[in-house]
Structure formats: structure tokens, C-alpha cells
């Protein structure tokens, strides 16, 4: 088996996400390569942690590579794949790789399995398990074993316990052939929605509000609660974002962010599977909801049936005095 891991070198967490992909590759076959692409080798110095934990490394560069351009990412990875002929191509799923993987699959005319959360070896063949229908079900998929296959891995689903040291890793250099005309779409720099905020993925506590808040004002109170919690910040359900009460960048769930804090408050949130798929990995989920039959109580560790508007102000005072 021949595995190629394609790395999103622009991901600030590329070291840890790639460790996860490496851990998966180690389970399948210990002969694999990771491919890093960039303008030049120097710009990859932040990924040195990966140097001795994989057997083969490919560094593919071209000074024309503008990493804002998805067209150039696709073209570069395609060239690396054509040079190396892998049977399985792994990427850790994020907004960038979800698009790149699909476009590569189309250009190479090969199948793609998105967001795999578990991989099993049964009867000598690989079975990929992935959530479907917003996470209420899972599908087990296998490929025909003939065609190469692209698989994106759900972030955080595999862990990185299976890391080995490779004392003599090989490095292969590939000169990418890129032309400016390949850049069909011109992307501008991202304008961050709220730069001062604590990144949700790093928060230890998240206070998440839903449609039950009834309006934007509720988030002020939730912010007060978040501020007195350990490394706390606020989040929102899609219903709250769609209502315009809070910016969409706060959305947690299938089409928003995936978080795994120690403490997750779900306030006025019904617990739809698409919301839960973004927060089930939280250590402790506390739900406050007026409806005793709300689905959220099936997935919460601690439940409180009641009106947030009455409970949260008191809760803030109680926590302040306890601290």
C-alpha cells in the first residue's frame, strides 16, 4: 500500500493535524510520504516537528505558489500525486482541503470519501466510516481496491497516539510547474470578523446561545458568564446566527466550528444533530432549556429545566462568590 498525506501548510495547527494523519497512516502501512508544498523550503520551517516522525517527506515548491489560490493548491497537489502514484491520499478535513480534495478527485477521476471519522481493516480491505445526516447515522464505505482513493479525515477523530520515530527519513524535492494563468480566481486577504476574540477552538469554556435567547441582548448576559469562566468565550447555534443576533463566525456545528472545550453551556438550544456534531466532543455539556423533552437533554451531562433569563443572572453571581 502506498499512502500520500497532503498537508495544508497554511493551517496554524498543521503540526498537530498532520500528526493525526500520520497516526492514521502508521496504522495502515508504515511506508508512506507526507507532501508539503510552499513557495520555498524556508517558509516550511514551522513544520520541522514533522521531520523525524514520518519515513518519507516530499517538499514541492515554486516561487509562484500563492497559497491564497485554491487553483494553485489543486494544481500543485495534482503534480505531486502524478509524480508519486499513491493508492491512498489522505488530507485532514478543513474548509480548504474539503474543496481541494473534491477538485482533485474530479481532475484525476478518482473517488473521494469526505470526513472519515474511523478506519477499519476488515478482510484485508479498508473500511471507512463517516457520519451522515448531520451525525445521526454513519456510513461504512469501501473502495473497489483498484482505483486510487482520496480520503479526508475528520479533525480530532483519530487522535495522534500512533506516532513513531523514523531516524533516517528520506526527503524528495519536486519543482512544481506553475504559471500565473492557472490562477483562475483571485482571492483577497481574509478580513477577520472579530480579531480580538479568543479563538473558540482554544477556549476551555464556551457559553453557547440559541434561538431560545429570543434576541441579540441575551448574548450580553452570556458574555458576562463566559468572562468569569476559565478561558471562556461565547458561541451560537445557526438559528441565532441566521436571525442576525450574532455574527455567523460564532456558529458551532456541522456548518460552523467544531469545538471541544472542558465546559460547554447550551442555552436555549434544542440539540439538533447538526448543532451537536460541532460540540459532542466537549468534556461536560450543561443544558439549560425550558422544554423537558428537548433533544439536548439526551446529549447533555448536566441538565437544568428552566428559563435562562431567570437562571443565568443568579448563576453569574453564585459563580463569582464561589471563585
Amino acid at each position: 500500500m502506498n499512502i500520500l498525506i497532503l498537508v495544508n501548510t497554511t493551517d496554524p495547527e498543521a503540526n498537530s493535524t498532520t500528526r493525526e494523519a500520520i497516526s492514521v497512516a502508521n496504522k495502515i502501512d508504515n511506508q508512506y510520504s507526507i507532501a508539503l508544498i510552499s513557495k520555498s523550503e524556508e517558509t516550511l520551517s514551522h513544520l520541522q516537528e514533522l521531520n523525524d516522525i514520518c519515513p518519507n517527506k516530499i517538499i514541492a515548491t515554486n516561487p509562484l505558489l500563492n497559497t491564497q489560490s485554491l487553483d494553485l493548491w489543486v494544481e500543485s497537489f495534482k503534480q505531486v500525486i502524478k509524480e508519486t502514484n499513491p493508492k491512498i491520499i489522505l488530507m485532514v478535513a478543513d474548509v480548504l482541503t474539503r474543496e481541494i480534495s473534491a477538485r482533485l478527485a474530479a481532475q484525476l477521476n478518482i473517488p473521494l470519501i469526505q470526513e472519515s471519522s474511523e478506519i477499519k481493516i476488515e478482510n484485508n480491505s479498508l473500511k471507512f466510516i463517516r457520519p451522515i445526516f448531520g451525525g445521526i447515522a454513519s456510513a461504512t464505505i469501501q473502495s473497489d481496491g483498484i482505483s486510487p482513493l482520496i480520503v479526508t479525515l475528520q479533525k480530532g477523530a483519530f487522535g495522534s497516539s500512533n506516532i513513531q520515530k523514523y531516524p533516517n527519513p528520506t526527503t524528495r524535492y519536486i519543482q512544481l510547474e506553475l504559471k500565473t494563468e492557472m490562477e483562475k480566481v483571485k482571492y483577497e486577504k481574509l478580513s477577520p470578523t472579530s480579531p480580538s476574540r479568543l479563538p473558540m477552538e482554544k477556549a476551555s469554556s464556551i457559553v453557547c446561545g440559541g434561538r431560545g435567547l429570543g434576541g441579540p441582548e441575551g448574548f450580553d448576559l452570556l458574555s458576562q458568564l463566559a468572562n468569569i469562566l476559565d478561558n471562556g468565550t461565547i458561541g451560537a447555534s445557526r438559528a441565532a446566527c441566521d436571525a442576525g443576533w450574532i455574527d455567523h463566525s460564532y456558529q458551532i456545528g456541522l456548518t460552523g466550528r467544531t469545538v471541544s472545550p472542558k465546559l460547554y453551556f447550551a442555552i436555549g438550544i434544542s440539540g439538533a444533530s447538526q448543532h451537536m456534531s460541532g460540540c459532542t466532543k466537549s468534556q461536560t455539556i450543561v443544558a439549560i432549556n425550558t422544554d423537558p423533552s428537548a433533544l439536548i437533554f439526551n446529549e447533555a451531562d448536566i441538565g437544568l429545566i428552566g428559563d435562562w433569563e431567570k437562571i443565568i443572572p443568579i448563576l453569574i453571581e453564585k459563580i463569582k462568590t464561589t471563585k
Binding site: V95, A102, R103, A105, A106, P111, L112, Q114, E115, I132, F133, G135, I136, A137, S138, A139, T140, I141, Q142, S143, D144, L149, V185, K186, E188, K189, L190, S191, P192, T193, S205, D230, R238, D242, S249, T255, G256, R257, L263, A272, Q274, T280, T284, F297, N298, E299, A300, D301, I302, G303, L304, I305, D307, K310, I311, I314, L315, E317, K318, I319
Partner: protein, 264 residues
């Protein structure tokens, strides 16, 4: 010249169907509803229809809806027509299971019948399998540029200027037409059909196209991946309820609980 816009839409099970009403169809290896309820149009695809109609209102356009589905899907094609789309085409879904590559091929071939088109719009993903794969395959098949997760669009001298709604913020992207973009719910709610729209939609007939017409014989269809099992995920935890006879007491009890768990 008005723009020639194509919107691809998919019919699926309402993603908000309670799990008790869902079942696994072991034959097709997919999820079904217990009472075989009528399918609905994927929500993000309706956002894409809205985006097309926004462009139509602003610049003038002919909007064609294309869907791959069964005869029952015809009903759901009425809604975009009633909203203001000009025509609809239904590609008859083959009886054999087809994968994303074949689905995208059938859609691409149908779109090719509409050359010259300016813009293809798709929803960001379908709410059943959430693959977000078909739009990108269509763009690559047709060798046109594509921009994903778009929440705003403008067209200026045959240049498309789009704003992408990404998890960390907004990003502008520009490209020449023709192009494909995927629309996200941040674009805004799809409009309600007007009474006049509904009446005129009822009069429009939906064009049917078969795979054979597109040069694809059912017997030649192969799939490179196969779903072998579907399982429901049971995630039920044992929720510990805090008694709430009065809010003061409940807030205190919750605080103590969190303190004991070392969470505050």
C-alpha cells in the same frame, strides 16, 4: 444580453426529521423515512435559487433549474419556478446506484447543452451526506473557475465579485465568467413564491432528460466506492438533572456541581 444562469438542486429527506421517523433502507444502503414522506429541496440549494433571482432582478437573467431525480422530484421543481426561475429540467435518475462522479457527469452534460452559460449556482452542500463534492466536480468537468461558500455576489463587466463566508471571516474573490459558485445560508433567506408565481409555475412544463440522451447507458455505469452499511448513531448520555423548584436554589446547585467537577 441577459445572463444565462443555471442552478443545480437536489431533493432529499428533510434534515430536521426526528430520528424516530427514519429508517435504514438496506437495499439502497441509505436512509429513508418510515412513511416515505415527500422529499424537500435541499435548503442550501434554495439559497442558491435566491442568489440566482437576486442576479436576475439586478442584471436581467434567464434562470434554469436542473435536478437529477425521480419523477416524484417534479413537485419540488415547482417551488423554484414559483419563486421566479424560468425553466426546469429533470434528469431521470438511473435505477442503478450512482456515485458522485456519475451524478456530476450527468449534470455537467446537461449543463453543456446550455452553452453559452454565464454562471452555475449550487448550494454549499446537500444536507443528507454533506459531501460538498458535486459542485466542484461539475466545475472541473466543465473546466471553469469556481468559488465556494459565497454569501454575496456582484457582477461587473463580466467579472464576478464574490464574498466568501469562512469560519474566520470574510474573503473577497474575483473571477471571469463563466464560473460556478456555491452558496451558503449567509446569503439570506430564499424568497416566498408569490401567488402569481405559483400559478405560472403550474403552467410551465418540466423538461425531462434521460441518461441515454446524454450519452450514458445505464449498463455502463460503474461505481468506484460502495456503501456497505448504514448505522444509526446512539449518542444518548445519562443526563443528570438539577432540581429546579426555584431558580436561586437551582443556580446554587449547578454552581456547586461545576465546582466539584473542577470546571469553574
Amino acid at each position: 444580453m441577459p445572463l444565462n444562469i443555471i442552478v443545480c438542486i437536489k431533493q432529499l429527506i428533510d434534515p430536521e426529521t426526528p430520528i424516530e421517523n427514519l429508517t435504514i433502507d438496506t437495499h439502497s444502503k441509505d436512509i429513508d423515512t418510515i412513511d416515505h414522506k415527500e422529499l424537500i429541496t435541499n435548503g442550501f440549494d434554495l439559497n442558491a435559487v435566491e442568489a440566482a433571482l437576486y442576479l436576475k432582478d439586478k442584471y436581467g437573467a434567464k434562470v434554469t433549474i436542473i435536478s437529477l431525480g425521480t419523477m416524484e422530484s417534479q413537485n419540488s421543481l415547482k417551488r423554484p419556478l414559483a419563486m421566479g426561475a424560468d425553466e426546469a429540467i429533470l434528469i431521470n435518475k438511473p435505477n442503478t446506484p450512482i456515485d458522485s462522479a456519475t451524478t456530476a457527469l450527468l449534470l455537467s452534460k446537461t449543463i453543456s447543452l446550455h452553452i453559452p452559460f454565464d454562471l452555475i449556482l449550487c448550494g454549499r452542500q446537500a444536507s443528507d451526506w454533506d459531501n460538498a463534492e458535486i459542485p466542484f466536480r461539475i466545475a472541473e468537468n466543465l473546466n471553469i473557475s469556481c468559488i465556494s461558500l459565497v454569501s454575496k455576489i456582484e457582477i461587473n463587466e463580466s467579472k464576478l465579485i464574490a464574498t466568501r463566508a469562512l469560519p474566520n471571516g470574510l474573503q473577497k474573490a474575483k473571477t471571469n465568467l463563466p464560473g460556478l459558485i456555491t452558496i451558503t445560508n449567509e446569503f439570506g433567506e430564499p424568497r416566498y413564491p408569490s401567488l402569481r408565481g405559483i400559478m405560472s409555475a403550474n403552467k410551465k412544463n418540466i423538461k425531462q432528460i434521460t441518461p441515454t440522451f446524454l450519452g450514458i447507458n445505464e449498463s455502463d455505469i460503474t461505481t468506484k466506492t460502495e456503501t456497505i452499511r448504514i448505522n444509526f448513531q446512539t449518542r444518548k448520555k445519562n443526563c443528570e438533572f438539577i432540581q429546579n423548584e426555584n431558580n436561586e436554589y437551582a443556580a446554587q446547585a449547578l454552581t456547586e456541581k461545576l465546582k466539584n467537577l473542577n470546571l469553574i
